[in-house]
Amino acid sequence: MIALHFGHQKRPLLGIYHPSIRNTGRRAVLIMNPGGWEYLRAYRSLRYLAERLQEAGCDVFRFDYRGTGDSWGNISDVTSLDDWMDDSALAVEELCGLASVNRVSLVGLRLGSILAAELARRLPRQIDRLVLWEPLSPAELRPPPRPGSPDQQAALALPDGVLEGLAAMRFGIPEDPRRRVLVAASEADAPSIEGTASASVSTISIRDSPKCWIEESDFGAGAVPVPMIASITRWVAP
């Protein structure tokens, strides 16, 4: 594992690179984070996913959008959805350089799945596979709560500019019959997403799969959904 800064010198983004254990036949995978408190709760699950993908022969890159995690800036510096889309595009470029590839696969969790789908639309030639893991529905997006509100933690607490961008976005799987797409969810909450019926789209539903973005008891993090991560790894790995 290698921790590094990438992007613009004055606006550095933090990335964690997990180089594949194989020398040949590798696949590059970019993991795209959920937002708000879901990011912190799902952190160890996404690390677990990265390590399983690495063991399965993938070069994996995790990164923090600006204003989140250890990347540059505050959340107030994020003025539009395009800020995070630009950061994601830089991450694709960085991973291509690190892994010496031209195309990468995207695995997005929750908000990350929405951003991944949008990124695939914007960079059609560079994205070969797409995993939408528990994608957000439009109904789950709501403005940040008032300060002191009891649901402060429960909300995604996304910046207004990002919410506006998501509101204007068409939620759905980008149309491209050449690109394989996996929609993964726990059975009870299988989302209805536009484009799921396409022949190139697979779905995984694992009953009662732990929701790693929700805090388990008062431990501060969500339970690691081991079977779900194993399924995603099998689907993505070369």
Partner: protein, 324 residues
């Protein structure tokens, strides 16, 4: 290494075979403040709840302090530990972080001789537990640490309940009996094992001994208690009560902050915490010309600048500075 107008930040891998991941934030100029190590909370990664550690580290670095926030083994992005026990693993990790901060970032800075530990929740407990074994730790800031139950806590809690109309209504209406039965049937709340969070918690007696030891050698401690502790600590006085022999009026400061929640949800509270910490930090003049010595047997250190006589006035409603 990348830079910004006020600080420079870089990821580092250090410790046992480079297994620990941290983010080092340094002043752009030669450091003038004591190095600081931030210990995370529970099983959360190094950025802390609501990114409080990120903001704090950058704020402190802009004020002249080199800062390291890092992941304990097995947490965040640090590799799993190989120690014989949880205790030895955590202590080894913290020592590695302190060792790292004793080295200058580059050829400009001085070699450090002391460090301040800042810990949240279980990170605070870990800092307190570790400090006794490392004389380089000259200060500890503990946010929402374990505060042992005292007779004073029970007395205040009883008084609160007796004065609460809700308590009497529950008794008269039979609701309290119903609640008890429901709790018995449900089997009680899920209790994590004592070491679940990487928690190194001293018993009440051991904690008192540790406090006595730390105060005796001159270590300054600031307890910051948010409303997140009110279910086990209902007064700033409880800190003194829980450390009957070890509490030091000269070295220890208790800040009672009911306006702040356990996870620093509001940016204003993070800013308040940073300001409070900077005002408390007792060490200035960390530059190459400063006279630095290890604490002597009387706890004093020759050449150390005087501690600020008071913290700034806090105008945030609901906050009080309690200096016993």
């Amino acid at each position: 290494m990348t830079s910004s107008p006020q600080y420079r930040e870089r990821p580092i891998q250090f410790g046992r075979q480079g297994s620990l991941l941290g983010i080092r934030t340094d002043p752009l100029q030669i450091p003038t403040g004591v190095p600081i190590v931030i210990l995370g909370a529970g099983i959360l990664p190094r950025m802390g709840p609501s990114r409080v550690s990120v903001h704090l580290a950058r704020d402190l670095a802009a004020a002249g302090h080199p800062v390291l926030r890092f992941d304990i083994s097995g947490i965040g992005d640090s590799a799993p530990g190989g120690g014989a026990s949880l205790e030895s693993m955590v202590l080894e990790d913290i020592r590695a972080a302190v060792d790292h901060m004793m080295e200058p970032m580059d050829s400009r800075g001085p070699v450090g001789r002391e460090v301040v530990l800042v810990g949240y929740c279980s990170g605070a407990d870990n800092a307190f537990y570790y400090a006794v074994g490392d004389p380089r730790v000259s200060g500890i800031v503990m946010f929402d640490p374990t505060i042992h139950e005292t007779a004073g806590f029970r007395r205040r809690e009883l008084r609160r309940r007796l004065l609460s109309w809700e308590t009497w209504w529950n008794v008269v209406s039979g609701r309290s009996l119903l609640l008890r039965l429901r709790k018995i049937i449900a089997g009680g709340p899920v209790e994590p094992p004592p070491d679940y969070y990487g928690l190194l918690v001293s018993s009440a007696h051991d904690g008192d001994e540790r406090a006595l030891n730390l105060a005796g050698r001159g270590t300054h401690i600031m307890f910051v208690l948010s409303r997140g502790v009110h279910h086990y600590c209902n007064s700033p006085e409880q800190v003194r009560e829980s450390l009957p022999r070890g509490f030091s009026d000269d070295r220890f400061t208790v800040v009672w902050a009911p306006h702040v929640d356990h996870v620093f949800s509001e940016v204003a509270h993070q800013e308040w915490f940073a300001s409070t910490l900077k005002a408390w930090l007792p060490f200035d003049g960390f530059g190459a010309d400063a006279e630095r010595t290890r604490p002597g047997p009387d706890g004093e250190s020759a050449g150390r600048p005087p501690r600020p006589s008071s913290l700034p006035n806090d105008t945030t409603p609901g906050a009080s500075i309690f200096v016993p």
